[in-house]
């Protein structure tokens, strides 16, 4: 029903090679030793679970704790997957990696791994995104990667992915396409899930240790869906742990200007996989809209579509204004500035906690919210959104 390999024949051999190498690596203790060493000594895992008592006051009776993927090296969860795929690239004897990036987080992580492993690296990024994420473009360039600003189509993440696929069709002999999310053709959704699974494994262990229980709910933002899939993986099918994905509602799903593929899309094929996508009556991909470059994608990983269709996870849209409120709220209550992507999950915590408090006033649920990345890269966007002019005496305003 979802997933598949809807790709040019030219890529089938590379996907088969990748799948074989991935399965071999999964069963190889040496691979896991190397991967684990990189995760702990290079990326900085395990990431902490941070209680957020002041933020929790905005969330009804919920006790909110934060899974701090923002504290990974390079500033987001993306490094988890990138290190795994870079090791696979080395095992396959390939010397060049390419990647697509929206917010630049995955591009930065890929450029970082390429520097670490001594690989050639090219990052495709929509021109629109290179403008709203200038800092990350410079970071990638400083790391030695070539950044290609993609002008075609809507000049955002989906077009960057098209361009990366075109590159890969022509360069598959020496190049690995290091996809950054749980989308794309099989085996990418599975492989990226397994490399991100560590998030949920750590959440389970840390919750047991700190709170003596599993979380009642795990909340994460969903663009392509890699941090959400990593946060959910160990809990899928466990009825005690409710899973919530928050999609980018943009200006509101009802306006048509959003990136909420599951809530506001329909089933189709995009970038090699069958999943919920944003498309018009003819099947042409619609442009997505979100204040968050990392969620601005008109599709979603096929396993999320499956989880949604089975009722194993719940997906709701969070619009730009709600996300920016939550961005400011976490920053001012906990001193943690989240990526705007992650702010969608935080807004979801406010909404869900408030709703549960009305429905079940006696329960005090434990929420784990994954803070997928840090917000430094989003300061330009926040300056515009909050109308900051750089005057030292200007006040953004408190929460109320």
């Amino acid at each position: 029903m979802f997933g598949g390999k809807y790709v040019p024949e030219a890529l089938m051999a590379a996907l088969a090679q990748l799948e074989a190498e991935f399965e071999a690596a999964m069963a190889d203790p040496q691979f896991w030793r190397e991967f684990e060493a990189l995760r702990t000594r290079y990326a900085g895992r395990p990431t902490p679970l941070t209680a957020a008592p002041r933020f929790s006051e905005l969330c009804g009776n919920a006790r909110v704790v934060l899974k701090r993927e923002d504290l990974n090296h390079t500033g987001s969860h993306k490094i988890n997957n990138v290190l795994g795929q870079a090791l696979l690239t080395k095992r396959m004897g390939k010397t060049r990696v390419i990647a697509e990036t929206g917010a630049g987080q995955h591009g930065v992580a890929t450029a970082t791994a390429a520097a670490l492993f001594g690989m050639e690296c090219r990052i495709y990024m929509g021109r629109v995104d290179t403008e709203r994420q200038r800092l990350n473009v410079a970071r990638m360039q400083l790391l030695g990667a070539e950044v290609i600003a993609v002008e075609s189509g809507s000049a955002t993440l989906k077009d960057a992915m098209n361009e990366a696929l075109r590159d890969w069709v022509a360069s598959v002999d020496n190049t690995h396409y290091l996809i950054g999310t749980v989308a794309g053709p099989h085996p990418f959704p599975k492989l990226v899930r397994e490399f991100q699974r560590v998030i949920s494994t750590e959440i389970a262990a840390q919750c047991h240790q700190e709170y003596g229980q599993l979380p009642d709910a795990v909340l994460a933002c969903v663009g392509g869906g890699s941090n959400a899939m990593g946060s959910f993986a160990d809990f899928i099918g466990n009825p005690a742990v409710k899973l919530y994905g928050f999609e980018a509602g943009g200006e509101g799903v009802e306006t048509g200007r959003h990136a909420a593929s599951i809530t506001g899309g329909s089933i189709g094929v995009l970038h090699g996989t069958r999943t919920f996508i944003l498309q018009d009556e003819d099947g042409q991909t619609l442009e997505s809209h979100s204040i968050s470059a990392g969620l601005d994608y008109p599709g979603v990983g096929p396993e999320h579509s499956w989880l949604a269709s089975q009722g194993l996870a719940t997906y709701e849209p969070v619009d730009d204004d709600e996300a920016m409120y939550a961005f400011k709220a976490l920053t001012q209550t906990e001193g943690i500035m989240p990526a705007i992507e992650s702010a969608h999950a935080l807004a979801g915590a406010i909404r869900l906690g408030t709703r549960l408090a009305a429905e079940q006033p006696d329960s005090k649920p434990l929420f784990v919210v994954t803070v997928s990345g840090r917000g430094d890269k989003d300061v330009d966007t926040a300056i515009k959104f909050f109308g900051l002019k750089g005057h030292p005496d200007q006040y953004v305003g408190g929460l109320l």
Partner: protein, 268 residues
């Protein structure tokens, strides 16, 4: 492999002691009506017309075809316009196959697309992002509608995949001659003759068309040495794009390119 309708067009050329020319143009560029005029000119000189149906995310298309496709979509081309384009080519006396990306067919409904394509007189469909492994529904629908299905092979395809793809094709098989996307190149690739030789060995009764990279009569002659059909796309679009920018139709320039390529396969 059954030659189907489009394979008969290739076999017909072979019976005349020459190779076939397959010409690609997208519906909707420079406009829906303008594309039908261009397809008529194309039909004058080719054995089989390949009508592209523009898609928003065409990962196998190079910059020339992308440019035309993007403009066609901006100018309002719809999926249903492809059926009228097929009729235009049929009226011009040539068989037509459609080339498009899978989501458009999937969205239209595979069975309905097959039915409407057959009703318009179309010969079949080339599917650049649908491999036989994912094609169960299309195989059933094309069988029911009597349509050809043309799958692609690439220099990276292993022997097993070439055999399985040949078995799934009806009509002919599309061999991509270079690793990469469409677009005219200075010289045709050496990977192509090797790929065709492998197909000949693994699936001897398969008709093979070679595309992606042929830009002039001399190159067409070179590809015709080893392929059954020479597929040309970007080279036909370039004069139309240049003329579009200058506010002209470009049909005469297109006719000259068609004649050059036709001469390249010995059809002049």
């Amino acid at each position: 492999m059954s030659y189907g309708i489009s394979g008969q067009a290739i076999a017909g050329a072979l019976a005349h002691g020459r190779k076939a020319l397959i010409g690609y143009l997208p519906v909707g560029y420079p406009s829906v009506a303008g594309s039908r005029d261009a397809l008529r000119v194309l039909a004058e000189g080719v054995d089989l017309v390949e009508i592209g149906l523009p898609y928003s995310d065409p990962v196998m298309d190079g910059p020339v075809i992308q440019t035309a496709g993007t403009r066609a979509l901006e100018r309002g081309v719809r999926v249903r316009d492809v059926f009228a384009a097929v009729e235009t080519v049929r009226e011009a006396g040539k068989p037509a196959v459609v080339m498009t990306y899978w989501n458009l067919v999937d969205r239209y409904s595979v069975a309905a697309f097959a039915r409407d394509l057959a009703a318009a007189g179309g010969a079949g469909l080339i599917t650049p992002d649908l491999v036989p492994d994912e094609a169960e529904e299309w195989i059933a629908a094309s069988d029911a509608a009597g349509l050809d299905r043309v799958f692609l092979v690439s220099p990276s395809s292993g022997d097993e995949r070439i055999s399985a793809t040949a078995a799934a094709c009806r009509g002919w098989m599309y061999a991509t001659s270079v690793m990469g996307v469409t677009g005219t190149r200075a010289s045709a690739s050496s990977a192509a003759p090797e790929l065709v030789a492998r197909v000949r060995k693994l699936a001897p009764n398969t008709l093979v068309g070679v595309g992606l990279g042929v830009s002039n009569g001399a190159q067409a002659r070179e590809v015709a040495q080893y392929a059954d059909a020479v597929i040309v796309g970007s080279a036909f679009l370039k004069p139309l794009i240049a003329a579009d920018a200058a506010g002209r139709s470009g049909l005469e320039e297109l006719r000259a390119v068609v004649q050059d390529l036709a001469a390249g396969v010995g059809n002049s």
